[in-house]
Symmetry: C2
Amino acid sequence: MTRIAIDAMGGDYAPYEVIAGAVWAAQDYGVGLELVGNQDRIEQVLEQISKEGFLSECGKAGRKRRVRVNVKSLDIKITHASEVIEMGEAPGQAIRKKKKSSIVLAVNSVATGSSDALVAAGSTGAAMAASLFGLGRIHGIDRPAIAVTLPTMKKPIVVIDAGANSNCTPEMLRQFAIMGQTFSKNVLGIENPRVGVLNIGEEAGKGNELAQHTYKLLEEEQDKFNFVGNIEGREIFLNLCDVVVCDGFVGNVALKITEGTSSMLFRMLKEQFKSDLLGMIIGLLAKPFMKRIYTKINYEEFGGALLLGIKGITVISHGRSKAYAIKNAVRVAKEAVVNGVNRQIAESVV
Amino acid sequence: MTRIAIDAMGGDYAPYEVIAGAVWAAQDYGVGLELVGNQDRIEQVLEQISKEGFLSECGKAGRKRRVRVNVKSLDIKITHASEVIEMGEAPGQAIRKKKKSSIVLAVNSVATGSSDALVAAGSTGAAMAASLFGLGRIHGIDRPAIAVTLPTMKKPIVVIDAGANSNCTPEMLRQFAIMGQTFSKNVLGIENPRVGVLNIGEEAGKGNELAQHTYKLLEEEQDKFNFVGNIEGREIFLNLCDVVVCDGFVGNVALKITEGTSSMLFRMLKEQFKSDLLGMIIGLLAKPFMKRIYTKINYEEFGGALLLGIKGITVISHGRSKAYAIKNAVRVAKEAVVNGVNRQIAESVV
């Protein structure tokens, strides 16, 4: 049985929502769990959920339902961790200093083979640093990167890096391109994925130094990349490419702006419908249609993003993840155990 | 009478749509024009519009109406320019080499007082370089920057820089903060505007080196800035601050992702409504509500963004501007002549 290690203390709604999502996934997807964190609190939460279940919005904002989980029937290991790495701490220092933190011990459990993959919703920097040092990086990859899939009108597009590395070099982005195209091909099933550089204009000379140099690097290796040039922010959603590379700062801003824009638009629409009685009726009728779109783009459905470039599987979840998002993150982790994308990256780098 | 110089050759739909938008604005807002570009082509377009008007979507995608303009009644000067700066050219070189290009001559007409402000939809880099050299920069400001206002649930937020400078220093971002808060106060009427740094986490140590150092600079000057710390991409739309500073690369990506996300969502909703007959009826009923939101967020309504930090008024329009967007850009230029934001920046920098 596949076992997923969970940093039970990481995330804005930890440990309650994280544990709730994990046991929910364990029940629905048939995986074992290793919950890493304060043992007393984990046991308390498990007991509470065992008794009364928990409320979840299930990705549908505003409508909660009670989820029942037969906790006793699940295969759950608890690993006590006496420390927690907080959001403000410098990741590198923190993982060296706090060797008994939940994230470091959760990575250890993957490193020793006790678990097969890790889900972490706490500090992204700490999860990356712990994975880098605990699992090691793939030969030929300097820095791991986060790959997220964004919904578009047609096929999903991979954005890499979505937040692991704030300061990048062109060579790092070239490696992101390799990882991104392996992910696109092997996980999303896209043949010969087209690679683009996120930029602020079409022409080769546009953008900052990083984008300009990355353009040159990718252009030189026509045999390695199906390179389609620069992609502007607006074009991401038009399926002009399958993989877009950028530094983790820009990628994270892009990702969160996408989230922010869509949730604002849905709220604006809702408010607009509430402006009069007729609007309220039309709004009610339109709701199921809007919900289908919302489900398509809601980050909670995606659950988490894979950290690519390490010798192991780490799924990074949104800090704001509630149970439903964590559940989906565990699904992503389970799928990654099966498709072994990091193994394939190791092969394609050689 | 206020006269607006127009780079008639700049933009994806120049000269036709640019001239159409300019004469439309001249008629509706009572301004004079100085159309700068190939004289023959300008005269041709004016004659055509004079005879048959032009078709415009008026910011409502898919529904065109014919706009009639009494061209002969307008105060239009034509200034012949024998050259055009193309999108791919390096801006600095291009404006030095092509002294008879439409953008250089249009800036000249503002510099000499022949016109009061400039609207440009061509290469942003060329418009900035030409304005910088032709009009001069405000003392205390190293680099001009583009300020855009993004719609949010409540008050609009100013994002600066939205694309003028791809490579920035912390000191440049500090100056953007000064310009942004002057704009927010004097143009948008927001008292004591809150300033934030666009970043990928809340804490002071987050983000790339630029964001970290800018944070420190702004924090040190509590008397000068109403500094509220880091703002994440998602939070831009939550009105946690009034001015958000970032380098022009990130700002431009952010702006275009916002556009891309909203236009994708509207298209997804439209498609969803088309899935069955009931949906089509509900979609028809919902249309006016959706249109109100669309109008609120459509970049064509905003028309153009002011280039701040120069001794004069340059409005940068979207490269994809059609007549309606250009018309609104001329309105922005006219308003800027009245409110004189760059004069106020000069005062607040001292």
